[in-house]
Protein backbone atom coordinates (compact mmCIF):
# COMPACT_ATOMS: atom_id res chain seq x y z
CA UNK A 1 0.00 0.00 0.00
CA UNK A 2 1.17 3.48 -0.68
CA UNK A 3 1.27 5.38 2.57
CA UNK A 4 0.74 9.07 2.48
CA UNK A 5 3.19 11.71 3.46
CA UNK A 6 1.07 13.19 6.20
CA UNK A 7 1.04 9.91 8.05
CA UNK A 8 4.79 9.88 7.73
CA UNK A 9 5.30 13.22 9.37
CA UNK A 10 2.59 12.77 12.00
CA UNK A 11 5.17 11.10 14.24
CA UNK A 12 7.67 13.25 16.19
CA UNK A 13 10.52 10.72 15.85
CA UNK A 14 10.05 10.58 12.10
CA UNK A 15 10.07 14.35 11.92
CA UNK A 16 13.31 14.39 13.90
CA UNK A 17 14.83 11.85 11.49
CA UNK A 18 13.85 14.08 8.57
CA UNK A 19 15.58 17.05 10.18
CA UNK A 20 18.63 14.92 10.89
CA UNK A 21 19.14 13.70 7.35
CA UNK A 22 18.10 16.96 5.69
CA UNK A 23 21.70 18.11 5.47
CA UNK A 24 23.54 14.82 4.94
CA UNK A 25 22.87 11.18 4.12
CA UNK A 26 23.30 8.87 7.13
CA UNK A 27 23.47 5.16 7.90
CA UNK A 28 20.74 3.61 10.11
CA UNK A 29 23.34 3.15 12.88
CA UNK A 30 24.33 6.79 12.81
CA UNK A 31 20.67 7.84 12.86
CA UNK A 32 19.84 5.49 15.74
CA UNK A 33 22.58 7.02 17.89
CA UNK A 34 20.53 10.19 18.06
CA UNK A 35 17.50 8.50 19.59
CA UNK A 36 16.73 6.68 22.80
CA UNK A 37 14.65 4.09 20.99
CA UNK A 38 15.81 0.69 19.79
CA UNK A 39 17.49 0.09 16.45
CA UNK A 40 14.37 -1.82 15.41
CA UNK A 41 12.16 1.17 16.15
CA UNK A 42 14.38 3.44 14.09
CA UNK A 43 14.43 0.91 11.24
CA UNK A 44 10.66 0.81 11.28
CA UNK A 45 10.46 4.60 11.07
CA UNK A 46 12.92 4.56 8.19
CA UNK A 47 10.85 1.93 6.40
CA UNK A 48 7.70 4.04 6.71
CA UNK A 49 9.55 7.12 5.49
CA UNK A 50 10.87 5.11 2.55
CA UNK A 51 7.40 3.79 1.69
CA UNK A 52 6.14 7.36 1.65
CA UNK A 53 9.00 8.23 -0.68
CA UNK A 54 10.16 10.87 1.75
CA UNK A 55 13.58 9.29 2.03
CA UNK A 56 15.54 7.09 -0.32
CA UNK A 57 18.25 4.53 0.24
CA UNK A 58 21.65 4.75 -1.34
CA UNK A 59 24.01 1.81 -1.26
CA UNK A 60 27.63 2.78 -0.81
CA UNK A 61 29.78 -0.32 -0.56
CA UNK A 62 28.28 -2.44 2.21
CA UNK A 63 26.55 0.44 3.90
CA UNK A 64 23.08 1.80 3.27
CA UNK A 65 22.72 5.54 3.51
CA UNK A 66 19.38 7.27 3.96
CA UNK A 67 18.82 10.57 2.28
CA UNK A 68 15.93 13.04 2.16
CA UNK A 69 13.75 13.38 -0.92
CA UNK A 70 13.59 17.14 -1.00
CA UNK A 71 11.04 17.31 -3.81
CA UNK A 72 8.55 15.30 -1.75
CA UNK A 73 8.90 17.65 1.18
CA UNK A 74 8.29 20.49 -1.22
CA UNK A 75 5.07 18.85 -2.29
CA UNK A 76 3.70 19.02 1.26
CA UNK A 77 4.76 22.59 1.58
CA UNK A 78 3.09 23.42 -1.71
CA UNK A 79 -0.19 21.92 -0.60
CA UNK A 80 -0.17 23.84 2.62
CA UNK A 81 0.85 26.98 0.80
CA UNK A 82 -2.22 26.64 -1.44
CA UNK A 83 -4.42 26.33 1.58
CA UNK A 84 -2.79 29.31 3.23
CA UNK A 85 -3.28 31.38 0.11
CA UNK A 86 -6.95 30.43 -0.05
CA UNK A 87 -7.47 31.84 3.43
CA UNK A 88 -5.35 34.85 2.73
CA UNK A 89 -7.39 35.84 -0.31
CA UNK A 90 -10.61 35.22 1.61
CA UNK A 91 -9.48 37.47 4.43
CA UNK A 92 -8.38 40.24 2.09
CA UNK A 93 -11.80 40.17 0.49
CA UNK A 94 -13.40 40.24 3.92
CA UNK A 95 -11.35 43.32 4.83
CA UNK A 96 -12.91 45.28 2.00
CA UNK A 97 -16.41 43.94 2.70
CA UNK A 98 -16.11 44.96 6.36
CA UNK A 99 -14.84 48.37 5.42
CA UNK A 100 -17.79 48.92 3.10
CA UNK A 101 -20.27 47.85 5.79
CA UNK A 102 -18.59 50.07 8.35
CA UNK A 103 -18.67 53.12 6.08
CA UNK A 104 -22.31 52.54 5.21
CA UNK A 105 -23.19 52.59 8.89
CA UNK A 106 -21.81 56.09 9.36
Amino acid sequence: MRRDVFQAIADPTRRAIIVLIATQAMTPNAIAEHFDTTRQAVSKHLRILTECQLVRQEHQGREIYYQLEVSKMKEIENWLEQFRKLWESRFNQLDSVLLTIKNNKK
Binding site: A10, S89, D95, V97, K102
Partner: protein, 169 residues
Protein backbone atom coordinates in the same frame (compact mmCIF):
# COMPACT_ATOMS: atom_id res chain seq x y z
CA UNK B 1 -4.80 46.94 1.36
CA UNK B 2 -2.03 46.45 3.83
CA UNK B 3 -2.65 47.67 7.32
CA UNK B 4 -0.39 45.24 9.22
CA UNK B 5 -3.15 43.11 10.62
CA UNK B 6 -1.86 39.94 12.18
CA UNK B 7 -2.21 36.83 10.06
CA UNK B 8 -0.95 33.53 11.33
CA UNK B 9 -1.28 30.15 9.67
CA UNK B 10 0.11 27.03 11.26
CA UNK B 11 -0.28 23.31 10.84
CA UNK B 12 -0.31 21.28 13.98
CA UNK B 13 0.47 17.72 13.03
CA UNK B 14 0.39 16.50 16.64
CA UNK B 15 -3.37 16.82 16.72
CA UNK B 16 -4.18 17.14 13.00
CA UNK B 17 -5.36 20.71 13.01
CA UNK B 18 -4.78 23.78 10.93
CA UNK B 19 -4.84 26.94 12.98
CA UNK B 20 -5.56 30.25 11.32
CA UNK B 21 -5.53 33.56 13.17
CA UNK B 22 -6.45 36.89 11.69
CA UNK B 23 -7.26 40.36 12.99
CA UNK B 24 -9.84 42.63 11.41
CA UNK B 25 -9.91 46.39 11.80
CA UNK B 26 -13.56 46.70 12.81
CA UNK B 27 -15.55 46.03 15.95
CA UNK B 28 -16.54 42.49 16.85
CA UNK B 29 -20.28 42.54 16.06
CA UNK B 30 -19.55 43.40 12.42
CA UNK B 31 -17.03 40.57 12.12
CA UNK B 32 -19.41 38.15 13.77
CA UNK B 33 -22.11 39.06 11.25
CA UNK B 34 -19.68 38.59 8.37
CA UNK B 35 -19.09 34.97 9.42
CA UNK B 36 -22.66 34.10 10.27
CA UNK B 37 -24.92 35.91 7.78
CA UNK B 38 -25.07 34.38 4.35
CA UNK B 39 -25.62 37.65 2.51
CA UNK B 40 -22.21 38.81 3.79
CA UNK B 41 -20.51 35.39 3.52
CA UNK B 42 -21.47 35.29 -0.15
CA UNK B 43 -19.43 38.44 -0.69
CA UNK B 44 -16.11 37.09 0.57
CA UNK B 45 -16.09 33.34 1.17
CA UNK B 46 -14.94 32.30 -2.31
CA UNK B 47 -11.57 33.45 -3.59
CA UNK B 48 -11.90 35.40 -6.84
CA UNK B 49 -12.80 34.66 -9.61
CA UNK B 50 -15.05 32.16 -7.80
CA UNK B 51 -18.19 33.31 -6.03
CA UNK B 52 -20.01 31.80 -3.09
CA UNK B 53 -23.77 31.44 -3.53
CA UNK B 54 -25.95 30.44 -0.58
CA UNK B 55 -28.89 28.17 -1.19
CA UNK B 56 -30.07 27.97 2.42
CA UNK B 57 -28.75 29.38 5.67
CA UNK B 58 -30.10 28.45 9.07
CA UNK B 59 -27.62 29.74 11.62
CA UNK B 60 -28.57 28.01 14.86
CA UNK B 61 -27.40 24.91 16.72
CA UNK B 62 -28.42 21.97 14.57
CA UNK B 63 -28.99 24.25 11.58
CA UNK B 64 -26.92 24.36 8.43
CA UNK B 65 -25.44 26.47 5.66
CA UNK B 66 -25.76 24.99 2.18
CA UNK B 67 -23.84 26.88 -0.44
CA UNK B 68 -22.06 26.54 -3.77
CA UNK B 69 -18.72 27.80 -4.95
CA UNK B 70 -19.43 28.98 -8.46
CA UNK B 71 -16.61 29.20 -10.97
CA UNK B 72 -16.05 31.59 -13.84
CA UNK B 73 -17.41 28.94 -16.26
CA UNK B 74 -20.50 28.49 -14.09
CA UNK B 75 -19.21 25.23 -12.58
CA UNK B 76 -20.64 24.54 -9.12
CA UNK B 77 -19.12 22.82 -6.10
CA UNK B 78 -21.51 22.38 -3.21
CA UNK B 79 -20.66 22.35 0.48
CA UNK B 80 -22.55 21.99 3.72
CA UNK B 81 -21.72 23.32 7.15
CA UNK B 82 -23.68 21.80 10.04
CA UNK B 83 -23.61 24.10 13.06
CA UNK B 84 -22.98 22.24 16.32
CA UNK B 85 -22.66 24.87 19.02
CA UNK B 86 -23.10 28.61 19.00
CA UNK B 87 -22.26 31.21 21.66
CA UNK B 88 -23.39 34.45 20.11
CA UNK B 89 -20.53 36.84 19.33
CA UNK B 90 -18.03 34.51 21.04
CA UNK B 91 -17.61 31.34 19.05
CA UNK B 92 -19.26 28.64 16.97
CA UNK B 93 -18.36 25.15 15.84
CA UNK B 94 -19.48 23.26 12.79
CA UNK B 95 -18.89 20.25 10.63
CA UNK B 96 -17.80 21.08 7.11
CA UNK B 97 -18.48 18.62 4.28
CA UNK B 98 -18.67 18.37 0.51
CA UNK B 99 -22.21 17.90 -0.77
CA UNK B 100 -24.43 18.07 -3.85
CA UNK B 101 -27.00 20.63 -4.94
CA UNK B 102 -29.73 18.77 -3.02
CA UNK B 103 -27.77 18.96 0.20
CA UNK B 104 -26.68 15.32 0.44
CA UNK B 105 -23.27 14.98 2.06
CA UNK B 106 -20.59 13.32 -0.06
CA UNK B 107 -19.35 10.59 2.27
CA UNK B 108 -16.33 9.82 0.13
CA UNK B 109 -14.83 13.21 0.71
CA UNK B 110 -13.09 14.32 3.87
CA UNK B 111 -14.99 16.23 6.52
CA UNK B 112 -13.48 18.65 8.94
CA UNK B 113 -14.58 20.18 12.21
CA UNK B 114 -14.41 23.93 12.54
CA UNK B 115 -14.11 26.00 15.65
CA UNK B 116 -14.14 29.75 15.20
CA UNK B 117 -13.45 32.09 18.13
CA UNK B 118 -13.93 35.85 18.19
CA UNK B 119 -12.19 38.15 20.65
CA UNK B 120 -12.46 41.87 21.13
CA UNK B 121 -9.01 43.48 21.11
CA UNK B 122 -10.10 47.10 21.32
CA UNK B 123 -9.40 48.60 17.91
CA UNK B 124 -9.36 45.20 16.23
CA UNK B 125 -11.22 41.91 16.39
CA UNK B 126 -9.21 38.71 16.51
CA UNK B 127 -10.65 35.66 14.77
CA UNK B 128 -9.12 32.26 15.52
CA UNK B 129 -10.09 29.38 13.30
CA UNK B 130 -9.16 25.84 14.17
CA UNK B 131 -9.86 23.27 11.45
CA UNK B 132 -9.42 19.68 12.51
CA UNK B 133 -9.35 16.52 10.47
CA UNK B 134 -9.62 12.96 11.68
CA UNK B 135 -6.37 12.42 9.95
CA UNK B 136 -4.10 14.59 7.94
CA UNK B 137 -4.35 12.46 4.82
CA UNK B 138 -7.82 13.96 4.54
CA UNK B 139 -6.19 17.31 4.43
CA UNK B 140 -4.21 16.16 1.46
CA UNK B 141 -7.44 15.18 -0.30
CA UNK B 142 -9.03 18.50 0.53
CA UNK B 143 -6.13 20.40 -0.88
CA UNK B 144 -6.16 18.30 -4.02
CA UNK B 145 -9.84 19.13 -4.35
CA UNK B 146 -8.72 22.69 -4.18
CA UNK B 147 -6.56 22.01 -7.21
CA UNK B 148 -9.35 20.26 -9.06
CA UNK B 149 -11.85 22.93 -8.33
CA UNK B 150 -9.51 25.46 -9.74
CA UNK B 151 -9.92 27.48 -6.59
CA UNK B 152 -6.29 28.00 -6.90
CA UNK B 153 -6.55 29.46 -10.38
CA UNK B 154 -7.08 32.71 -8.62
CA UNK B 155 -3.72 32.50 -7.02
CA UNK B 156 -0.32 33.37 -8.28
CA UNK B 157 2.38 31.05 -9.38
CA UNK B 158 -0.02 28.23 -9.58
CA UNK B 159 0.57 26.69 -12.97
CA UNK B 160 3.94 25.56 -11.83
CA UNK B 161 2.58 23.99 -8.68
CA UNK B 162 -0.21 22.29 -10.53
CA UNK B 163 2.22 20.77 -12.95
CA UNK B 164 4.30 19.36 -10.13
CA UNK B 165 1.25 18.10 -8.25
CA UNK B 166 -0.06 16.33 -11.33
CA UNK B 167 3.32 14.83 -12.09
CA UNK B 168 3.77 13.43 -8.63
CA UNK B 169 0.44 11.61 -8.70
Amino acid sequence: MNNNLAFDFSVNKENNTIDVKREFAVELPLVWDAYTKSEILDQWWAPKPWKARTKTMDFREGGRWHYAMVGPEGEEHWSLVNYKSIQTRKNFTGLDAFADAEGNVNKDMPQSTWEINFSDKGQVTLVEICISYDDLSQLETTLQMGFKEGLSKAMEGLDELLASAVKSK
